[in-house]
């Protein structure tokens, strides 16, 4: 990972590839790298689908090593959905393979003049960019099948489906999993539309002849990794809960808390939640010959995913995540896992963000395009997106645009991006993160990272309301740093609860780069990333007034707790003061 590749898709005479040393970006990875490149090199007022925007693919700082859980790929750009800076990351094999080939980042620049569609092949010998118009408007599953015939199974694929090609604002970028299924998506923010605007349909990553990235201090690295894995395995969340039930284990708990947004955020409890729960999902998967435990990339010890089969035992999709089950389930009043699984497959196949699409269909139902709970209608609406009909194009551009087109007053978005599966009225602290994150509403922007160990901003009194802002700040700082390592965010619990596991993570980073890494260094990195992102957004025209939830969260109480969002604006405005 000692160099950066730039591919100017708009160069005269066809795409042009150049290579450079990492230079000022040395030692960075993942979100730190994508966000600093965007903040430094992209005009903040550019059109996200125009030639001035850049699309950056960056493995994490530890990707491509023997370190466990290091397989997240960050993709960054100016978002066409939010207009802000955007980092969206995914698992799958791509980050590991790209890092082993030796790139800290691959940056797509410019925009071709014609209609040709391109594929990019990256291997140890270099990078080639080829026209391949036979791939036009193919969706992800058949696209990968076609590519496999040419490039085989010992590679990783990064692709966009028809949604990305059509530049729909909810379009995702897919990364293949170990079984070469396009199931791992950089989902949020419309990054797939930016790839579509660059006219790049697929990136084929071939690390044949390359080895694992070596650590500067191999024995220390190996020892730290062993302790890190032990910590993950012994923790009840990463060692038991997630492997058994996946992230959908949250459905029952959110519903019980009254924080499960139902029928476009009209209620906090869904009567059909037990049918959608992770526990029910795992039972069904195993009964049908699938699995409730599966890793999205090699080297994952948490294995929070699974395989969802139909009643005849045929593969439908990977195990839908909690947010997907919620968005296509309770948010739309649907209590059927088979319907959710089909919609998840359609999202993955067309190349769409499952959160954005589920919320959008709920908004469409609120507009009267279908009844809440109508399973067939939800599938029909998704089919419209896949066909690229005028209605489908509206829906594929997300909840905010759909709400505007169909006159829906209450649309759950912040900075144009749909809220995830946690109602901010009963759980006020997550509302602070939704409102203030640089990325638009995003539950992963302030994850449950080891802020208690990092002591970012000191301890917080659990009984003080202003503690919510302080906690969200701490979490956002820590998350920005973890997103830069390439580590899966699900390591959060083990490093939060077990200081020795957090130390093992620091030791892995230190041993790999031959430095001493402390908690303060992690905090400094997180602040650096957030400051750059915040500065970009400010220059793009975002002000503190954009750091607010939609008005109805302040005015409409939600049952059963009958609360509104009540964190004062003045407190939200303090979040980035450090």
């Amino acid at each position: 990972m000692d160099r950066i590749a730039r591919i100017d898709m708009g160069a005269a005479g066809g795409p042009k590839v150049t290579f450079e040393e990492v230079g000022e970006y040395a030692g960075l990875g993942g979100r730190a790298l994508t966000s600093l490149v965007i903040a430094t090199e992209v005009h903040p007022l550019c059109h996200p689908l125009g030639a001035e925007n850049k699309l950056i693919f960056a493995p994490g700082m530890l990707s491509g090593t023997t370190g466990s859980m290091t397989g997240r790929l960050s993709v960054g750009c100016k978002s066409p959905l939010t207009g802000t800076i955007k980092e969206s990351n995914a698992g799958g094999q791509a980050a590991q393979v790209l890092a082993r080939i030796g790139y800290a980042a691959v940056i797509l620049e410019g925009k071709p003049a014609g209609d040709d569609l391109y594929k990019i092949i990256i291997n140890k010998d270099g990078i080639t960019v080829e026209v391949d118009n036979s791939l036009q408007l193919m969706d992800n599953y058949p696209l990968v099948e076609k590519l496999r015939k040419e490039y085989g199974d010992k590679v990783a694929y990064i692709t966009i489906g028809s949604a990305g090609e059509r530049q729909l604002l909810a379009a995702s970028i897919a990364c293949t999993d170990p079984e070469l299924r396009p199931t791992r998506h950089c989902g949020r923010g419309g990054v797939g539309a930016v790839m579509g605007a660059k006219r790049v349909k697929a990136i084929i990553l071939d690390d044949a002849g390359m080895k694992m990235r070596p650590a500067k201090e191999p024995e220390k690295f190996r020892d730290a990794n062993r302790k890190f894995v032990e910590g993950l395995r012994k923790h009840p969340v990463t060692g038991e809960g997630l492997p058994a039930y996946g992230t959908n284990v949250l459905t029952n708990v959110l519903n019980e808390a009254g924080g499960y947004p139902t029928r476009n955020f009209k209620g906090g409890v869904f009567e059909g939640s037990a049918k959608l729960s992770g526990e029910a999902q795992a039972e069904l998967e195993v009964k049908r010959g699938g699995t409730a435990t599966h890793g999205c990339h090699r080297g994952c010890v948490i294995q929070c995913s699974g395989i969802f089969n139909d009643k005849d035992g045929n593969y439908v999709t990977k195990q839908p995540e909690y947010e997907t089950v919620w968005s296509h389930g309770g948010h739309c009043g649907i209590d059927d896992l088979d319907t959710v699984a089909k919609l998840d497959y359609m999202d993955d196949n067309f190349g769409l963000d499952t959160i954005e699409m589920g919320v959008t269909i709920g908004v469409a139902m609120d507009a009267g395009l279908a009844e809440f709970g109508d399973r067939e209608a939800a599938i029909r609406l998704m089919e419209e997106v896949g066909k690229g009909t005028p209605l489908g194009r509206v829906l594929g551009c997300g909840a905010e645009i759909t709400g505007k087109v169909f006159g829906v007053e209450k649309v759950p978005v912040v900075k144009g991006q749909a809220l995830p599966a946690y109602d901010p009225r009963p759980i006020q602290g997550i509302g602070v993160t939704y409102a203030t994150t640089t990325q638009g509403a995003d539950h992963t922007a302030g994850y449950a990272i080891a802020t208690n160990i990092l002591k970012v901003g000191g301890d917080v009194d659990p009984l003080k309301t202003e503690g919510q802002v302080e906690l969200s700040r701490n979490l956002q700082i820590a998350t920005a740093a973890i997103d830069s390592t390439g580590m899966c965010l699900f390591i959060a619990f083990a490093i939060m609860d077990q200081p020795e596991t957090f130390q093992a993570l620091l030791d892995m980073l230190g041993a790999f780069y031959g430095i001493t890494m402390t908690g303060d260094d992690v905090v400094a990195l997180g602040k650096k990333v957030l400051s750059a992102e915040r500065d970009f957004n400010k220059r793009a025209g975002f002000t503190k007034e954009h750091d607010r939830l939609p008005r109805f969260f302040y005015t409409d109480p939600i049952a059963p707790h009958n609360q509104t969002f009540s964190v004062p604006d003045e407190e939200l405005d303090q979040l980035f003061n450090w």
């Binding site: 923790h235 009840p236 969340v237 990463t238 038991e240 809960g241 997630l242 058994a244 039930y245 992230t247 284990v249 949250l250 029952n252 708990v253 959110l254 019980e256 808390a257 009254g258 924080g259 409890v269 037990a274 049918k275 729960s277 992770g278 526990e279 029910a280 039972e283 929070c304 909690y322 946690y422 009963p426 759980i427 006020q428 602290g429 997550i430 993160t433 539950h443 302030g446 994850y447 449950a448 802020t451 208690n452 917080v460 009194d461 659990p462 009984l463 003080k464 309301t465 503690g467 919510q468 906690l471 969200s472 979490l475 699900f490 959060a492 619990f493 939060m496 059963p560 707790h561 609360q563």
Partner: protein, 201 residues
């Protein structure tokens, strides 16, 4: 006249515990001494080890409010208690008992009040989630749970061949009943409530 309580006992292989997950998640009624603390209910009445309560039941909702202190929260007649193991994500950490992120949940935290908490026999609704389904589910089923006749009938009708082939039959009010007859649900069509006990072998 009120329909009598039916005492139904089933004997099943332990591999079928998953069949009861929907009931255990949605909640079942249990007779209990109410007006006591949650700790007392869980440990003294239900026999759950204090160490298990402290380390394994990391998330507890009492009437939909996240509960931090089991030693002060009072369980009243008609209460709903949801028990969960450790949860992922920000919200999972937020809901955790006495967790570092408890401030994130604000007013949905359980606050004990001075409302009447008379010590008497009552019923509480219990919900079990995730890891606790397999660990505590058999304990509650062995002690017996209260369900409406119609809910038991629905449960039986939704079971497939595997369940009925593995079922050794049961016992209704002390009288043995074969699996075939149970499957017809006919003995339960008298209405009222059922005290369901399941012995796993």
């Amino acid at each position: 006249m009120e329909a009598p309580l039916i005492h139904l006992t089933l004997t099943l292989p332990s591999s079928l515990i998953g069949e009861f997950f929907p009931i255990l998640q949605q909640g079942f009624l249990v007779t209990a001494h109410v007006g006591c603390t949650l700790q007392r209910l869980l440990c003294r009445q239900w026999g759950i080890a204090p160490d298990y309560v402290a380390t394994r039941i990391t998330t507890i909702f009492l009437d939909s409010k996240a509960t931090d202190n089991v030693e002060t929260a009072i369980v009243r007649d008609g209460a709903t208690i949801a028990l969960s193991g450790a949860m992922p994500g920000l919200v999972g950490a937020t809901m955790r008992r006495g967790g570092h992120l408890a401030a994130m949940r604000g007013a949905m935290t359980h606050q004990e009040t001075a409302a009447d908490a008379t010590d008497r026999i009552g019923t509480v609704r219990v919900k079990l989630f995730n890891l606790l389904l397999t660990e505590l589910g058999p304990v509650f089923l062995k002690r017996g749970i209260l369900m409406g006749c119609s809910d038991v009938i629905s449960f039986f009708r939704e079971r497939d061949e595997t369940f009925w082939e593995s079922c050794d039959g049961g016992n209704i009010n002390g009288t043995p009943v074969g699996a075939g007859l149970l499957r017809t649900t006919q003995p339960l069509c008298v209405g009222g409530s059922v005290r369901l006990t399941v012995n796993f072998r």
